[in-house]
Amino acid sequence: MITCATSRRYRLFPDNKACSLNALLMIVLSFLFVLSGKETKAIEADLSSHLVAITAGFSGDRILLFGSINSPGEVIVVVRGPDTDFKVQRKGQVAGIWMNTASMKFESVPSFYSIASTGPIEEISSSATRALNAIGFDNIGLELPVTKAAGKLADSWKKALLRNLLRSGNYQLENAEIVFLGEHLFRTEFELPANVPTGTYSVSVYHLRDGQIIDARTTPLTVSKIGAEAEIYDYAHLHGAMYGIIAIVIALVSGWIGHLIFRKG
């Protein structure tokens, strides 16, 4: 049984075609699996698309991940966005007014992080495995160096960062589901919010047994601005002054056109 997930990646095709494309992918995957038998790697996986294009109509996206395992076990999928720096501001009351009174910079933190798994990750993987492979929010480097903050203070900064990233959709809670279709084939979906950071993501698929990773696959996913949006962004950053002049001219002309239209009408 293959359910059809509506992925925005398939907007190019009518809905029924999108569905048949999914089905085709499943068939190809299962075929590969049957052909290669036990000689194949323990885990195979691929994405419905390796490129998320941010165009004018972009309002978030869903990515499908298909895969297969050749022996029983658990699966964890980790989607990790490019590392970036975040600054957290803390507000305090000064003379009755709430203002930023302290700030903390977190360096090289994943800009996006989402996990899907066949069960609670604490149960299906050992803590050493999670630490080694940066699985779970405790292991992705949100810790502050002791020179900046320690103990309870560091903890409250870390929690604040996590809370804000979860709220914005950059980080997602750890219970995304992996659905098995039969014994070997599985699929999962993850959602990219409208304000998704651009860059190269890594999608890692782990096959675990007894809490240990027995095989892993990592596949890249590129999120980038495409078309007019990308060109405007690039132009604004490369030729700021010229961009400013163009913006002014557009505004002047539209104001003038507005006047002309209404004078006659």
Partner: protein, 304 residues
């Protein structure tokens, strides 16, 4: 229908943006102000980063002011000499203002300064306008007409040097006065993402003593150039001008401003002042409350 804004990096409903532009443009046409003091807070509320909201709004102010200034120019309501002198001050002020904006942003205090500027400057002006409007409306009710006494009050600043004659406004005052006002409004327009009409218009009426009819056209004339300067500097220094956002807003605001100018011409000056005062006080009250009420999350995230 959603559209992705390339510089703001968020996706917003097109209809919402058009409606926002139209509503604010209507008010800006009626009252002869750029409307930035309404649009900037609304943009921030919709989720546009404050730095992008301020810079993009400056771009949008150009369009609505251009379409408004033609109408006033036709009626001979622009004092160009006064406009140019205000403009020299405005250019210097807005250039320094954009520098100050960049500096405050690096300190993480730009949002606070934007909010406080709104509350202090807009709030004061709004209250004054409201009181003045109420007084004038009641006076007319009593006497059945306003008898105009002196053209304007004489204060210490009328003793300043560099006196110039402004024929259109029938004034003989020091050029330093419009220069200083232009400078001050220039700084504010860079920091607050406003044309500065809400300071400029009352300053021209009460401090310079210009005829009310002349004030709106002349202030729009000055605002066009100051807003253009702010747009240019923000685009060059901070890359925060979103042309797609600006274009969508200005389609609405240009249409709204045309309708507004017509409505404004039919309304009495005192009522205009009273209504604008009420509107301004309401916006400020909201912003002031935001500063006083404890935020839901004391920690805020910033992309670096």
């Amino acid at each position: 229908m959603q559209i992705y804004l390339p510089i703001a990096e968020i996706s917003v409903d097109i209809i919402l943006l058009l409606a926002m532009g139209g509503g604010v443009g209507l008010l800006s046409g009626i009252f002869g102000v750029g409307g930035g003091f309404l649009m900037t807070p609304i943009l921030i509320f919709v989720g546009v980063p404050p730095a992008v909201a301020v810079a993009t709004q400056a771009n949008n102010v150009i369009a609505s002011s251009v379409s408004g200034v033609f109408a006033h120019w036709k009626r001979g309501n622009v004092d160009f000499l006064m406009g140019w002198i205000l403009l020299i001050g405005g250019f210097i002020g807005s250039t320094l203002g954009v520098g100050l904006f960049t500096f405050l942003k690096s300190l993480g205090q730009i949002d606070l300064v934007i909010n406080l500027s709104y509350v202090v400057f807009l709030g004061t002006i709004g209250l004054l306008m409201m009181l003045e409007g109420i007084k004038a409306v009641f006076r007319r009710r009593k006497s059945g007409g306003v008898s105009r006494g002196k053209l304007h009050e004489h204060n210490w600043f009328h003793g300043l040097p560099l006196k110039m004659r402004f024929r259109k406004s029938r004034l003989y005052i020091s050029a330093l006065l419009p220069l200083g006002i232009g400078f001050f409004v220039g700084v504010l327009s860079a920091i607050m993402g406003v044309g500065g009409g809400f300071i400029l218009v009352p300053a021209m009426i009460y401090m310079l003593g210009m005829p009310t009819a002349m004030v709106i056209g002349t202030s729009l004339f000055q605002i066009i150039f100051v807003a253009a300067n702010v747009t240019f500097l923000q685009a060059a220094q901070n890359q925060t001008v979103d042309v797609v956002l600006a274009l969508l807003l200005l389609v609405g605001s240009v249409l709204g401003a045309q309708v507004g100018t017509r409505i404004g011409a039919k309304m009495q000056g005192d009522w205009l002042r009273l209504l604008l005062g009420i509107l301004v006080v309401m916006v400020c009250g909201k912003l002031f409350l935001d500063l006083l009420i404890e935020p839901a999350d004391l920690y805020v995230l910033e992309m670096v």
